[in-house]
């Protein structure tokens, strides 16, 4: 939860922090910050009906950053002595071409985040390993009960408990405690020598009780088993351009890949994004409104504050089809002269801040989901996906279906094997002709990679119809 600073847990005083900040914020440095992080992550995993692996990792360190114009100087250290802080400060300010001339920084005001989106206290860290073990055992039993063709069940439960303190040269000293957990289930089904896998999972910035609410963990187990069994009877996917109906929730990965990355401010400042210069222009049909919202309680992509201490917010990216805004961190907002949106994120103290998404989703429309399916004569209905990827510069993106069906004569018929869908980011949403009233957010499994950094994110989507997209199957 949003707590009032925890500097003492890093063995430091405010004086140490101000002094390091003063040392890095030399004359030609526009902005400097220190990011202290301590993170405990734990995992238990099961396979072959045995919970046989447990891990626990502890890391702690500080990242020191200075920016001057477009330049960023960055150093990090896993030692937190005053001397190490000074050494890191000296390295970070190297880019400012002014080896001395320390400047007075405005004394930061101690703050706490104004929101508390994940009030779970230390619950996860204190959950006994035995309770996590029984959670996984219950999943194994449920998945095997679902169908005797389930031959193996793999499940893992991961938790992370992160304490951060951010001190900035523009006068902020703020801390947050960021819990995160995820339960993941994969089932292998086998029949007549054919094997197939199915996966399901979820989580968020939630307490352990989340997984038992409405027997959520057992539903995850059944969903993973169902997908594996379903795929046993899947036929080859079609190849070529066709209409595609995306189900609600996780298929929102479309938005993340097709437009989200392209709207991150850094690529647009550098004019290397296919969306550069499209602000105010039409990039989607007028029934599409898309937002990035870091303020949803308990969500995997949510944060009380971003990793620069800025409160997260709700940013309208596309409104009625028109491109309205980029998501920004301090560096890019300043250089571009556009609003700061609270999207400055980093994987850890070892990585630099980049503009990143939080929870990205399309608002609900007015169509009945069943009517959307009925509108398609021959096409694909895709309800679950694996990963996706995008080339920011030419805008081409892919995402890969892991559960999909043929639509024939307005009806969902046979399941098809996984296939990659490929399209062009600035064009694809102009082909959205129907948006359902059934907006769903994903279950909380998304991890986004950029520049080698992984951060947790969320996505969401109502059922939508895309009039044409290339489906990468094998059948003509």
């Amino acid at each position: 939860m949003g707590e009032l600073i925890q500097l003492a847990s890093f063995g430091l005083t405010e004086g140490d922090v101000f002094s390091a900040l003063g040392r890095v914020k030399v004359r030609d440095v526009d902005y400097a910050d220190l990011y202290f992080e301590s993170c405990v992550s734990e995992s238990v995993s099961m396979e072959e009906s045995l919970v046989k692996r447990a891990t626990k990792n502890v890391s702690q360190g500080v990242g020191v950053r200075a920016t001057a114009g477009e330049k960023t100087g960055f150093a990090y250290s896993d030692e937190l002595t005053k001397k190490d802080l000074e050494l890191a400060a000296d390295t970070a300010r190297y880019i400012a071409n002014s080896p001395s001339g320390a400047q007075a920084v405005s004394v930061p005001v101690r703050q706490r985040p104004t929101r508390d989106l994940y009030p779970v206290e230390r619950a996860q860290a204190e959950v006994a390993t035995a309770d996590r073990v029984s959670l996984l055992n219950a999943i194994d039993a449920e998945a095997r009960r679902y169908d005797p063709r389930i031959k193996n069940v793999m499940a893992s439960f991961n938790t992370e408990y992160k304490v951060v303190v951010v001190a900035t040269s523009d006068g902020t000293l703020i801390g947050d405690v960021q819990p995160l957990s995820r339960l993941q289930v994969t089932c292998i089904a086998e029949e007549n020598g054919q094997r197939q896998a199915g996966s399901f999972g979820g989580g968020g910035r939630v307490g352990f009780e989340f997984y038992h609410e409405g027997d959520r963990h057992l539903r995850f187990a059944r969903e993973a088993a169902r997908e594996a069994i379903l795929n046993l009877s899947a036929v080859d996917a079609p190849a070529g351009v066709m209409p595609v109906v995306l189900g609600g929730g996780w298929p929102g990965i479309l938005l993340h890949e097709a437009i989200g990355h392209g709207l991150e401010a850094d690529f647009n400042r550098k004019k290397t994004s296919a969306f550069s210069n499209l602000l105010g222009k039409r990039v989607a049909s007028d029934i599409c409104t898309i937002v990035d919202d870091g303020t949803l309680p308990g969500r995997r992509g949510s944060l009380n504050m971003d990793d620069e201490g800025t409160p997260t917010g709700r940013t309208v990216l596309i409104e009625d089809g028109i491109l309205r805004g980029y998501i920004t961190d301090k560096l890019n907002a300043r250089l571009m002269g556009i609003p700061l949106t609270g999207n400055g994120r980093r994987e850890s103290y070892q990585s630099v801040v980049l503009p990143r998404m939080t929870n990205t989703f399309m608002l609900a429309g007015t169509s009945d989901p069943e009517e959307i399916i009925r509108s398609v004569d021959r096409g694909l209905y895709a309800v679950s996906f694996g990963g996706g990827q995008v080339d920011i510069t030419n805008g081409k993106f892919v995402f890969s279906a892991s559960e999909a069906y043929l639509i024939e004569g307005g009806k969902v018929t046979r399941p098809v094997k996984g296939a990659t869908l490929i399209g062009s980011g600035p064009e694809i949403l102009t082909k959205v002709s129907m948006v359902g009233h059934d907006l769903k957010l994903d279950e909380g499994i998304g991890t986004c990679g950029k520049d080698g950094q992984s951060v947790p994110v969320g996505v969401g989507l109502p059922t939508i119809r895309i009039d044409e997209i290339t489906v990468g199957g094998t059948q003509r």
Binding site: E47, L50, K52, R53, A54, T55, K56, N57, V58, S59, Q60, G69, E70, K71, T72, G73, F74, A75, Y76, D78, T91, Y94, I95, A128, T129, N152, M154, I188, R195, Q196, A197, A237, A239, G240, V241, K270, K271, Q350, G386, G387, G388, Q389, D391, T393, N394, K396, F397, V398, F399, S400, K417, G418, T420, I422, T470, G472, G473, T474, Q475, R476
Partner: protein
């Protein structure tokens, strides 16, 4: 120097002390890995420094066994109190999980004895200015070679060095140092007529600084790869031969490497389960994993459990001859470890490649392209559309359309699909252009036919 030696000896001593402490806390067996290193990274963009990063880091990973039960932990906090607490907690954690009949350290008599010097370390130290200059040169070379190169995602130079100390309760104690130097350029080109942009990149990576390609050569290649993508279009949906350039063929070797990993196999999560000694590909296909290539990017004297690395023939004349195994996955399959335990600090060992590669053939890439009347030459793949359980393969692709044995025009926004088993069986030609730019490498590969989805 003296300090460095002292610290190194310090880590060996620390490893022994913690192993002894683990035994006192109830562990029957244990192993420990300590890694530390320095990294430097600079990115320049349009001739000015964009980002400069410098750090030292260290990490310690502990794995204990209490009978057949096991847990792993790690920390970056090396204070005595914290480490003692870690050892105690790890033993408690191990007691909380279920015993696994095949768990445990490798047998004591299997541990790596001789530790060859694989020449993995270069003591060359470049100062900050020298590294910035190299990054500037690689970007400048990319920017200046063609006027259609209009923008840049940057020029990069990175250097790192570090060492690994591994010890276990059999009394094994091993250590090695390694280093790496790399540079890359990522130019953006603009089509003068349509304004459409393309980006690509090129890179070089070596353990020895002196062996790196010149920044000018790397930058020039990055520009060539970027500019040639301008004007890319879709092609019609069809079945056709597909040539994977060396980089993309390397990704297919990566897929093979995952499929022969012991962990995927014993879980039934690989399409190659039960395929040992069966034909996988034509008889001119031979694949090795060789942990002892001198100066190799994937080389190491011993693996993540302290077993000797070696050369394993994975595919011999088209027949799948060996999986890649560590002790645990080997025991699950009733086989011996192949010395492929990969250990990232804080994780249980898993299986990873050392230097994994397809043995080269005799034809140049040009000669292979000449054999295709109508087909695709793939230079980019995106997405994760591979089902390792079934081998089903569907990925986004870009490259060039081949007409009459020549690269006719660039293509994009298409997918290629098939099944990895059929793709390996369908390898028709192998190039002579094997170059290691990572742990996994391949020469150019031609596959007889795949489904291309486009317009």
């Amino acid at each position: 120097m003296n300090q460095a030696i002292q610290q190194r000896d310090g880590y060996s001593q620390l490893a022994m002390d913690l192993l002894a402490k683990a035994k006192r806390d109830g562990a029957t067996e244990a192993d420990i890995i300590i890694a530390d290193g320095e990294t430097f990274s600079v990115q320049v963009r349009l001739g000015a420094v964009d980002r400069l990063t410098k750090a030292r880091e260290k990490h310690l990973g502990l794995r204990v066994f209490v009978g057949k039960r096991s847990a792993s932990t790690s920390t970056s906090d090396f204070s005595a109190d914290s480490l003692n607490q870690l050892v105690a907690e790890t033993c408690i954690l191990a007691k909380a999980v279920v015993g696994d009949p095949v768990s445990g350290l490798p047998a004591a008599d299997q541990m790596a004895g001789e530790r060859p010097d694989l020449d993995l370390y270069d003591s060359t130290r470049l100062n900050t200015e020298q590294q910035i200059d190299l990054a500037k040169r690689v970007e400048a070379a990319a920017m200046s070679s063609d006027e259609r190169v209009t923008n840049s995602e940057g020029g990069d130079f990175d250097s790192s060095s570090g060492r690994v100390v591994l010890g276990n309760s059999h009394g094994f104690l091993g250590e090695y140092q390694s280093s790496s130097f790399s540079m890359a350029a990522s130019p953006v080109a603009t089509d003068p007529e349509t304004g459409a942009m393309q980006r690509d990149s090129w890179y070089a990576v070596q353990r020895k600084f002196a062996k790196l390609d010149s920044p000018e050569a790397v930058g020039l290649e990055a520009a060539r790869r970027t500019v040639r993508k301008l004007g890319a279009r879709k092609v019609a949906t069809q079945r056709a031969p597909v040539i994977f350039d060396a980089e993309m063929a390397g990704s297919l070797m990566g897929n093979l490497c995952s499929a022969v990993s012991g962990y995927s196999l014993y879980k039934g999560a690989s399409f190659l389960a039960g395929q040992l000694d069966k034909p996988l590909a034509p008889e001119y296909v031979t694949v090795y994993d060789d942990g002892r290539v001198v100066g190799g990017l994937g080389s190491r004297p011993f693996d993540g459990e302290g077993l000797p690395t070696r050369r394993t023939t994975v595919v011999e004349r088209g027949v799948l001859k060996s999986y890649l195994l560590d002790t645990y996955s080997g025991r699950k399959l009733g086989m011996a470890s192949t010395g492929n335990a990969s250990r990232s600090v804080g994780e249980n060992p898993s299986v990873g490649p050392t230097n994994f590669y397809l043995a080269p053939g005799t034809k140049t890439a040009q000669e292979i392209i000449k054999t295709v009347k109508q087909g695709l030459y793939v230079t980019d793949l995106i997405g994760f559309g591979i089902n390792m359980v079934t081998g089903d393969y569907s990925r986004g692709a870009a490259g060039f359309w081949i007409e009459g044995g020549e690269l006719a025009y660039p293509v994009e926004e298409i997918t290629i699909a098939g099944n990895l088993k059929e793709m390996f069986a369908g390898i028709e030609m192998i190039g002579n252009d094997l170059v290691f730019r990572g742990r996994i490498a391949s020469p150019t590969i031609k596959i007889g036919e795949m489904t291309i989805a486009g317009s």
